[in-house]
């Protein structure tokens, strides 16, 4: 972050970060995370590698921000008035799976990077994992309060099972689609609403 307090110093070129993120997003979408090098990203962005590493601590850190700072923000829960929690959850999961069609490779690579980089793991959890986990928790809390689930339901465990199921499918290259969203929801809410 530029030093706004101290005198002097060359100001950051404010076109650099957007250019780097745009290059990263485009190249990773086209070729896959593993097939894109830092050298290629900086060449396409027209900057030096040090310029990139001054802003992000790793390739994964950059790609996380490139994909999820704006374009990949989690779907909101708005527009769900009158819907059951079950329907909201199904729609939420279907939306997540739709976006995984574009971003699945980046996400599975970021999960992988988090295993070898503790610092990135914390960032990834804060910026990606926990916000999405929280949304599912909200939906399940509403389900309990409206008796779609028993009040005694173990929200944390069910949340881990829902997220875990799609991480498992993503990481083992199995399909993530609307039928699977429906199947997950049916396993969580065994009795269908009438």
């Amino acid at each position: 972050m530029t030093n706004d307090n101290k005198p002097g110093g060359r100001p950051r070129d404010e076109t650099s970060a957007p250019a780097i993120k745009a290059a990263a997003r485009r190249l990773v979408t086209e070729k896959g995370y593993e097939n894109v090098s830092i050298s290629e990203i900086v060449r396409v962005a027209g900057v030096a590698r040090q310029t990139l590493y001054r802003r992000w601590s790793s390739k994964a850190d950059l790609v996380l921000e490139a994909f999820f700072e704006t374009a990949g923000e989690p779907p909101t829960l708005s527009g769900n008035a009158g819907l059951t929690a079950r329907s909201v959850l199904e729609k939420f999961l279907a939306d997540v799976f739709d976006s995984l069609a574009r971003e699945g490779d980046a996400i599975s690579s970021l999960i992988a990077c988090a295993q070898s980089d503790p610092e990135f793991c914390e960032t990834f959890k804060e910026k990606f994992v926990f916000p999405r986990e929280q949304m599912v928790r909200q939906i399940l809390n509403k389900a309990c309060s409206e008796r779609e689930l028993p009040p005694s339901a173990d929200i944390d465990t069910v949340t881990a099972m829902i997220h875990g199921a799609f991480w498992y499918r993503l990481l083992t290259n199995q399909p993530l689609d609307r039928p699977f969203a429906a199947a997950l929801v049916s396993s969580v809410f065994p009795t269908r609403p009438t």
Copy 2:
């Protein structure tokens, strides 16, 4: 694999593979997958790197075999006569979580490696993922046939949720312990047996 049909050729040194696997297992257990280099493994094993790469196509391939060829074979379902499927599943998960205390770092690293190496991903699924998935499926099938679960239960989805939940916890560095095994089982079998 040694060529048993064609004439000639230097026979493989049969002490090499066990030595390499023992070195890999010890070093990865002590220091963690990422902190162990191929150079270190071959130095400890007393072989050349080409000797290793003649037997395994990658570091991950070696570590998978080192950990799960023998010592890490999935727990069996034997000795469960008279137990409910629910109890069998809880015991199975508790055993898995016990072994993850020792092998969790290796497994999360192997899951990570599978994301960037399609060939290894197939090997990992065949040798590690599917056998364990099958065991859970067996337990759940028995649960259905003995009415501990509804016969209409979606076995594949529940299996993905169970595995997924512990992968999720493993990959996000959250605890995997007996209380979590119990919580998973309680979420799958909501009504407690009397």
